[in-house]
Subunit: 350 residues, 2 copies
């Protein structure tokens, strides 16, 4: 996009003004609020040009201009400068991050909560992608005849469990044998290398009759697979109702309707993550603006996520969904700072 300097400044000013006032901005108010050393007529010419390029648009003939999705994109890519948070803002976030929790999941939920409170928007986090983490322990505990609990400890300091059904005849000792055999052979293996075949061959060494064995192995396998399923934590949906951007009930309804399907949102975040990886992006955050988002009802939103790291190979996403009319530089540094704190706290778990 070849824009001369003044046009860049004009676009920058339009985005800033529109974000802070929520009113279409006209050439005259632009002159009043900023020190362009030209007249409003000149800006009008520039604005006509910017509109021609698709960077800004008019809600109707006699209104000012508002940024288009493309305009926001240009702003985010080349115009804005991200400033670090003030010490006070940093302190505010640090105070909210609870460093006393004993489970990674609680820490992530806590960070999500902090992010929603800090930004005033919807925040979200994905559970860590555990495919690359490896099994440190696996125990099968008999609960009662026909029922057992599979407990797994993963390298990333994460504990998962699942209640499974087992044959009624199996006794404590047999279960322990199977449990021991699986643990012995699979400890140290990354989750994504564990298949039904691996589990079955591990189980061969247990001295338990074949038919009984088979069902338990299958259940153990299912429990392991379930352990690396992705969860999403969404918070602060109701905050969207306080924004003027969603003062139309219809929009608000569509938005919250979509967000209520957390599986769909999780799928989308996953898609974003994969797309960024394939594109070889090395940005510390990913951003989707307006129509770039393929979820229904999020046309007026922007999606910003960053990646946190539990270990070198185990990571997840944390970010916000806000109105596309947001203070991008601020929100990005808020996300970035929460992510940083989250990463620090996570060191305790690995």
């Amino acid at each position: 996009m070849q824009l001369d300097n003044r046009k860049k400044e004009v676009l920058h000013a339009i985005v800033d003004d529109y974000v802070s006032t929520n009113e279409p901005v006209g050439s005259k108010s632009l002159i009043e609020r900023h020190s362009f050393n030209v007249s409003s007529a000149t800006l009008r010419n520039d604005m006509a040009e910017l509109e021609h390029l698709g960077l800004i648009e008019k809600p109707h003939t006699s209104a000012g201009r508002i940024p288009s999705d493309k305009g926001y994109r240009e702003y985010v890519n080349s115009l804005m400068t991200i400033e670090a948070l003030s010490p006070r803002e940093q302190l505010e976030i640090e105070k909210r991050i609870d460093s006393s929790v004993d489970e990674v999941t609680d820490l992530i939920k806590n960070a999500t909560h902090t992010l929603s409170e800090t930004t005033g928007f919807v925040s979200l986090a994905m559970s860590p992608r555990l495919k690359k983490s490896f099994l440190k322990q696996l125990k099968i505990l008999m609960i009662e005849p026909g029922k057992a609990l599979v407990v797994m400890v993963l390298s990333a300091g994460v504990v998962k469990d699942k209640v499974v059904r087992i044959p009624n005849f199996l006794n404590d000792e047999q279960i322990m044998k199977i449990s021991g055999a699986i643990e012995k052979h699979l400890t140290g293996k990354p989750l994504d290398e564990i298949t039904l075949v691996t589990v079955e061959s591990a189980g061969k060494n247990a001295d338990v009759p074949e038919p009984l064995l088979k069902q338990v192995l299958y259940e153990a396998y299912a429990a392991i697979k379930q352990a690396d399923e992705l969860n999403i934590y969404l918070e602060g949906e109701h905050r969207m109702l306080s924004l003027p951007d969603f003062s139309s009930l219809g929009r608000a309804r569509d938005l919250l309707g979509t967000l209520s399907d957390s599986g769909m949102v999780a799928g989308y975040v996953n898609e974003m993550e994969n797309a960024a990886r394939e594109a070889g992006s090395d940005d510390s955050y990913m951003i989707r603006i307006g129509q770039e988002i393929t979820l229904e009802g999020l046309d007026d939103c922007s999606f910003i996520t960053a990646t946190y790291n539990l270990t070198d190979s185990v990571s997840g996403n944390i970010g916000v969904i806000g109105p596309k009319r947001m203070l991008y530089s601020k929100v990005i540094s808020q996300i970035d700072f929460v992510k940083k704190k989250l990463n620090e706290e996570m060191r305790r778990f690995i």
Copy 2:
């Protein structure tokens, strides 16, 4: 409330009409829609009387009447008749209840989801009150030096666990000793009879040095206490935005804001439960209408809950939050049927 028969019928008709049309109902339309064998003038006299008694009110001088909270209360207490669901409606619910899940928690979430879809309102469920359930198993598994997992199996078929910190020096064998000692002494005890003192005296029998022992016992105690904390599952908040009753953004915001604080809602449900118990109520459901609800922003809502039973002594609540302008008899029978199915499914777990 001494009302003659016709006045009862008039109130009944006003509630029915208002619920179905969402328009204030006037004397004339009352005549048209129902077969009162009197003139509209007579009904006007009756309506004036009902208004005098505080059962109905006028939004403004020249509008029809709408039921007041007191009017709905009278309707619910003495006028409505609850009909069983049609076979088709029953089937619809049965299809949604997933009988393949292996954990009680999943079953409850599933029932909550079903209830929200069936009623179109917000549904909620409380986790079972486990104070009266007793410990069937307790195991402490070493995760890594300084960290252990306490796994508890409770009589109600519920499995709970918690990661805890332990002294770094403790080895596997010592942990197993402690775990065994606690389990031996506390198995069969109801959770609400287990105190720090009980746990400590149980631990005495483990052959482990006192200072190390003490911390583990405390953590085990904390884990047990955490096991009977109440959780709440809320679902379908966004559905409220589709109701004409919340077409004003302000109301919708207040409502969803309050519902987003699930701890507060849980506290309120608990209060309702306790109040009902103290009053010795033997109704199969509890109901709060409009201003009777002490939560902010729920003035236009009604709260209906029923009690499900996991065992004789272990129960929880399930219900809905909807607009007070709702089809009470229908919603109550929907809740009742879901509760019944939930109770049936729960038998598998005990």
